[in-house]
Symmetry: D2
Subunit: 318 residues, 4 copies
């Protein structure tokens, strides 16, 4: 990289919107407590991910516990992350919020830190109709300084971004793609079909359980939580799927399903995925396992169970 | 105003928890735009409500568009409201948020401004189980400087606060009541029955359509949106219900149902209630009709329709 | 009644539609096994109800496990019930089904047995829109030989019969009322308000927890499961509510809430109400406690717990 | 089997459970009106499907409007279908019902007509818990004379058959597989992973939009509505997916997505898929387009739009 007057790590990753592809982990947020980042853990985790070959980082998503974090911490996380990444991979920043003004402030910080793009799920308190959703995204897109990915997350936001809505919004120059975390690939395949003539619109899936199949059929990649733990595995799965190497896809997909089935199923209620993931990262020595309220980390017994499972899986992968 | 060392309007309303009763309007938030209060409107509205005889004010609820407002504005609203009210009626402050740290900061401001109590709905992004909900409320209640009302709002938060959960939480000294906005009085009556031996626990309903009946059967009152427009009407309905004056209850309830049916049914999607209410307040000359994103105020045609309806209703009430 | 050649118990109950009022228990279906009525229990139960002063009987509703019963048994139940009742009170017959042809066959049997009216919830397999619901009810109403009550049961049918739909359908001469089992009295009060100028349209509630309040505000009565056990109590509650005798209403409502809270909360999952009710009737010696698949009667331990509760309540009521 | 006087086409298709694979269209039910089969259409359609190379037929599913059909017609359809098929392909018979006795009667008819297997979704009126679901399926499986496929259809039945429930039930000797119509392949892939060591358990998907990907990753095949129209296309897609011929899979999947996007999106509400499909079959001259209540066939304008679309698609496929 060439010396300039600008600090080198503040140079924007110059990347055409259609070039967002591959594995972009939704990074967990290493925390010491409700209001303090685990900065050492953050550095460890980012280096671990970049070394693992990921194609980008997505911070402040659901996996990053974004909505549970105080605002000052969210802004700080953007700054620290961009500072550590130093342009080596694109950084996508979640700005999902019920208050559009706060989303815009996060977007501003992302721009100043030279992040690459923004990601926004629908506002998740009031129940909206599709026309209201369109108005919301247009309002947002008109005012943000970076390109935007829509984020479909109906289980959490109570609204599905319908295919017609996606097509309509894709015409806005700032809106360059969508991440779908519904797990419903019947829906996702409709999006792929509908958008196939729009060159610069990238469609990602969230759940790692469907990355293999969606990439084989034209998806842009996976924003997969498990890639926090084993970035290389997910990157290889992505590459095999792009290459159409079905045998390899099947083998690697099988490992991903083992991770999903074993690591994400300890503990009860809706968030066992997130709890298992963060606990595993802690067990791997990468960062603190603290979870922000209203979620809680595993108790001792759950953690012990996970440790055994994790070791078994690590042997197969590493 | 008498000179003292402490500004008189900062003196706390000294009120035992069991004394929260009556009509406590969920105040709409008068706005000039996404990030600025309509201060003149705020003053008008508060004087209108106090003159109307309301038993308290609830700010930063769903009707106050709390989750859509930037944080600085939420804190500012608490300060301005308490400053205007000057202890004449109790002020309840909504601190509902997905980030518990932000809820705690709002609680701190409420305390400093001498508000009377806090109100918190469950965090509304992650899907929680009842035990997680209990842990959340205990965490919150342990750290707040004012008494707390639970706020049941399942259509928006995706979780119902189950009767057993309410009973369990009621034992926490800070938790003094619940506001139920489900509209489901089968549920509400179960709460009333379960909690009847807990003297200091107050059960309010949100929807004005059920205030009459729930007060007749032991409810503490109504946090009714329509009381923003016609406070006197709702206060009289409450008094008639407490007195068991059924004839009067039926007549006043009929007016409330006319308001609900006529004013809250213009416009589409989930929030026609809120849009109709804020537009009516604007038509009455009380404050700005600006609605914060993701909601939008009525268009010209809808506003004209509402104006005709409103005039017809005003004639009956005033 | 005038002597005729027709057996007296086959004479239709001649009753104007507006005259359906009061407590009309949704009768449980006494069963020996999956396909056989407990006829002795049926006779006991009907005499118990009529002696208790109920204003009618509703068979083949949700409480009657209608959708779980084989068709031959449903037809048989209509015949036996009408034969036992012999016109002493109106008999309402549930014809809810996903196959409209089977609903029509049940309606035909009801007519032949001189039942008074029919009750139909929306078909509950396909997800319908309101216009499809209107078409469905019109199709049905055009072909039935008896007047029809709509039956709102959104938790089971996945669709709410919207107030506008009710108003539209009420214009059909065969459609004379609605039973609402949503528990949502905000919705029910909107119906009451909307339909108050339609003289011959009766609005009943299902959940006994809301009978008191809805009757005080103009409801026609309650189709209350608990009236299977204690018909007199519910009839007296209804009378007190009609008379506006609030003190008495409060006392009796309290007993109903005790029944609801104590008897319907043993056992898990959605149907603890139904399981508790049928078990209690069995414990009272009225009929068999057999429940048809997919529900199951209580196990020994649950039954023992219920017995103690039931005795305590019986002492207060009898 | 011993030589008998029974015609050879009544001999059971002798097929090991693990051999159910491939494209098994959920056959629409050709109807003249609410209670009469279109027998000529039925014959045409079955010959069309067998000529198209399908691996089996599934009658009386959601696509067959099973729950809307009178019982006599359901039994008749089983008889006629088996009589026409004459053992050329396996016939799977839907016995989904809220009344288990009626399911058992349908199963008996299926056995007598030498059908190959049964298919049952959960009972869809009462809300059940997973343990209740297990009890239900065990009760059913213990009493049926043919092997059974579970049928996951949460949007219609209000319950998801959880992976643990599937694993538990798979140990019952009569339960040999599952058809998943959720569209959620994150769920489906968990099932594939969980069940991979159970040799004789077949996992099918319903939505044709996900057949390609699920077969590539180990699924047994597709119960795809579109195969009623174009059986050959879906069979070829299945074969290409089994062979891992990704290029061919992508091309054929694209055609399936065009069918899905164009043919199933006319008309409103939940059932545009079913309405479009049945209307297309009518336009192709295969059978009557009559839909049983509560669904309705397209109006003239919708039918005309579909005709143009269908011709365009037929040109690409045939």
């Amino acid at each position: 990289m060439i010396e300039t007057n600008l600090p080198i790590y503040y140079m924007a990753v110059n990347i055409a919107s259609s070039q967002f592809r591959g594995i972009i982990p939704p990074m967990i947020t290493p925390l010491n407590n409700e209001s303090e980042l685990d900065l050492k853990g953050l550095r460890n985790l980012i280096e671990h991910l970049i070394k693992g070959g990921v194609h980008g980082l997505f911070i402040l998503g659901t996996t990053g516990e974004s909505t549970s974090l105080p605002y000052a911490l969210r802004h700080r996380l953007i700054e620290e992350t961009c500072d550590i990444v130093k342009g080596r991979v694109p950084v996508l920043v979640g700005i999902t919020d019920t208050a559009v003004s706060e989303s815009l402030r996060l977007a501003e910080t992302a721009k100043q830190c030279c992040a690459s793009a923004l990601v926004a799920a629908p506002p998740y308190y009031f129940s909206l109709g599709q026309p209201e959703l369109i108005e919301y995204y247009e309002y947002l897109a008109d005012r943000i300084p970076l390109p935007l990915f829509l984020y479909n997350m109906p289980s959490h936001t109570k609204i599905n971004i319908e295919p017609d809505t996606v097509e309509y919004l894709s015409k806005h120059e700032k809106i360059i793609g969508l991440k779908d975390s519904s797990g419903n690939t019947a829906y996702f395949n409709k999006l792929l079909y509908k958008m196939k003539d729009y060159d610069d619109f990238s469609l990602f899936v969230g759940p790692e359980e469907v990355t293999a199949e969606t990439v084989m059929l034209g998806g842009a990649g996976g924003v997969n939580g498990g890639a926090n733990m084993f970035p290389r595995l997910y990157v290889e799965l992505y590459s095999a799927a792009v290459a159409g190497d079905i045998e390899k896809v099947r083998d690697l997909h099988d490992l991903v399903m083992e991770i999903s089935t074993e690591i994400y199923s300890i503990g009860k209620y809706g968030s066992s995925y997130l709890k298992g993931l963060k606990c595993a990262l802690n067990l791997m020595g990468l960062c603190s396992g603290y979870m922000s309220s209203p979620l809680h980390q595993f108790n001792k017994e759950e953690k012990d169970r996970l440790e055994i499972i994790l070791k078994k899986i690590q042997k197969k992968i590493l």
